[in-house]
């Protein structure tokens, strides 16, 4: 999870913003419940979106109440109550964050990764036991991903396939019946594709500097003497096509979903937030520094 899935905040109603933040807080608390307070640092907007989306299928109104938390002790905030949806979203957050940290440690030897891994270890083990089939699928997807990285795959479609497949599996996992499973799966697949490629574009400069794998650098044949800025500019159109097309496919799937609540926020994210994020990353490499809400 990378934290790219955010609403277009100025266009949200204040009420909608508070509900979105309520899911965000809810996921955070659920993580603390599963992985301890030290696990909270992995919280990401993407899992708040997952919770928002999955919960929209239940017709019961959003249940939650104002409360305080460790990080914001002074002001009471609306928080969504713990339930199946929050449990699943936070578990996925822990799981993907764990794999992400492990990756970073193996590839980049980032100093803080082992500390993070240690903090998440307990939560990860619990989650793994809870969803053996899903975790098996995710790990299979990750090993395909690593293989493609090792063989330096230079094709956007192929390189993004494993991560898209993982997200498809994650999104369709809790859904019922089959038609909803299919819809959520297609939302997940296309979001996964978008996230993977947006991240690849975002990381171009860093990856070139370190000589790390990046499918875009290989596919579009980055020349040694080329300026990174002009390279980004040169490939922008083609990358934008696949990013926006993936989002448009996701929008179609979303149109078929019978969302019973949270519609305004979801539409804000799907029709505005994601496009805005795409624009930001393509234009200026906005980074994905996740600021807490």
């Amino acid at each position: 999870m990378f934290g790219y899935i955010t609403p277009d905040k100025p266009e949200l109603k204040i009420k909608e913003f508070e509900i979105f933040r309520g899911y965000y807080c809810g996921v955070c608390r659920a993580i603390a419940k599963q992985a301890g307070h030290r696990g909270r640092f992995v919280l990401s907007y993407d899992s708040a979106f997952l919770a928002l989306l999955l919960d929209s299928l239940n017709s019961a109104p959003v249940s939650g109440k104002p409360g305080r938390c460790l990080i914001h002790p002074l002001k009471k905030r609306f928080m969504v109550d713990y339930g199946d949806v929050l449990e699943f979203s936070s578990d996925i957050n822990i799981l993907l964050a764990y794999y992400n940290l492990k990756d970073k440690w193996q590839d980049e030897k980032k100093f803080f990764s082992p500390l993070g891994l240690l903090a998440l270890r307990r939560g990860y083990k619990r989650v793994k036991k809870k969803y053996p089939v899903l975790v098996g699928d995710i790990e299979k997807g990750l090993s395909t991903l690593h293989e493609l990285e090792r063989s330096r795959c230079g094709q956007m479609d192929e390189a993004s396939e494993p991560f898209a497949g993982i997200m498809q599996k994650v999104f369709e996992y809790p859904a019922e019946p089959d038609s909803v499973k299919k819809i959520l799966g297609w939302i997940g697949y296309n979001l996964g594709k978008w996230i993977y490629l947006l991240d690849a574009y975002d990381d171009i400069e860093d990856n070139i500097k370190r000589g790390a794998y990046n499918p875009l650098v290989i596919q579009f044949r980055y020349g040694e003497n080329e300026n990174v800025e002009s390279f980004r500019e040169r490939i922008k159109k083609e990358v934008e096509f696949i990013l926006v097309y993936s989002l448009s496919e996701m929008e179609k799937a979303f149109s078929l979903l019978d969302a019973k609540k949270n519609k305004g926020i979801l539409e804000n994210i799907i029709y505005r937030g994601l496009l805005e994020k795409t624009r930001q990353v393509l234009e200026m490499g906005a980074g994905c520094d996740e600021k807490p809400l």
Binding site: Q155, D157, K182, F241, I242, S248, K252, Y271
Partner: protein
């Protein structure tokens, strides 16, 4: 049957005009053409059927028996996708199309791999297959190639046009106004621009803003 007003996203007791407007928009949204290359096309069809039924019901029971004119049942022949309209396909091409349409990608890919001569129809079919699988970058390249090889083929052009219009349709969707207000000039730059314009006018002997 679900409440027909709910299906159309309206409150009960909405006027006939509102019903018609909502109906038109929903038909556009779930039109089979829009879902032609999408794996969820069957679900879109179902949704459209539900919308048609709801609309028919309201018109029959509320609006004195008027018939719906805008969108007749002709879509039922249309929804079968690319099969009906182009009948000059060889058997192989037809088989691959059916496989792609039914979501049987592995078998379609096997057949495509077995074809030695890669003419425009091969590029077209491989492009369609990639499009359905979610490999949009390659799909786009291949479809463009097919159109380049045979620019007068309406089927290939249609497919490419669908891809492009989907891309532009979403990118410029009415809810998103691009960078809009984020790029609009702030007060400071408006003032400086005015000041510059005034100075330029003064250089030429005129004056834009009298007081300075």
């Amino acid at each position: 049957m679900r409440n027909p007003y709910e299906v159309l996203g309206l409150k009960e007791g909405a006027s006939i005009e509102e019903v018609k407007k909502a109906y038109r928009e929903l038909v556009k949204k779930y039109h089979p053409d829009r879902y032609r290359d999408n794996p969820l096309s069957d679900l879109a069809e179902e949704k459209l059927r539900e919308i048609n039924e709801a609309y028919d019901y309201i018109i029959k029971n509320v609006g004195n028996g008027q018939q719906r004119q805008s969108y007749q049942r002709k879509q039922s022949t249309n929804t079968s996708g690319f099969t009906g309209s182009y009948q000059y396909d060889s058997q192989m091409v037809y088989r691959i199309k059916m496989l792609i349409q039914n979501g049987n990608f592995t078998q379609a890919q096997q057949l495509l791999d077995s074809i030695q001569v890669r003419d425009s129809s091969w590029y077209y079919l491989q492009g369609l297959l990639f499009l359905r699988r979610g490999w949009y970058d390659r799909a786009n390249v291949l479809l463009r190639r097919a159109v380049e090889m045979e620019p007068n083929n309406p089927e290939y052009r249609d497919a490419l046009n669908r891809v492009n219009s989907q891309y532009y349709g979403y990118r410029h969707n009415p809810y998103y106004y691009g960078s809009g207000y984020r790029q609009s000039p702030d007060m400071c730059s408006i003032c400086t621009t005015l000041w510059c314009a005034d100075s330029l006018c003064e250089c030429c002997g005129g004056d834009l803003i009298g007081c300075c």
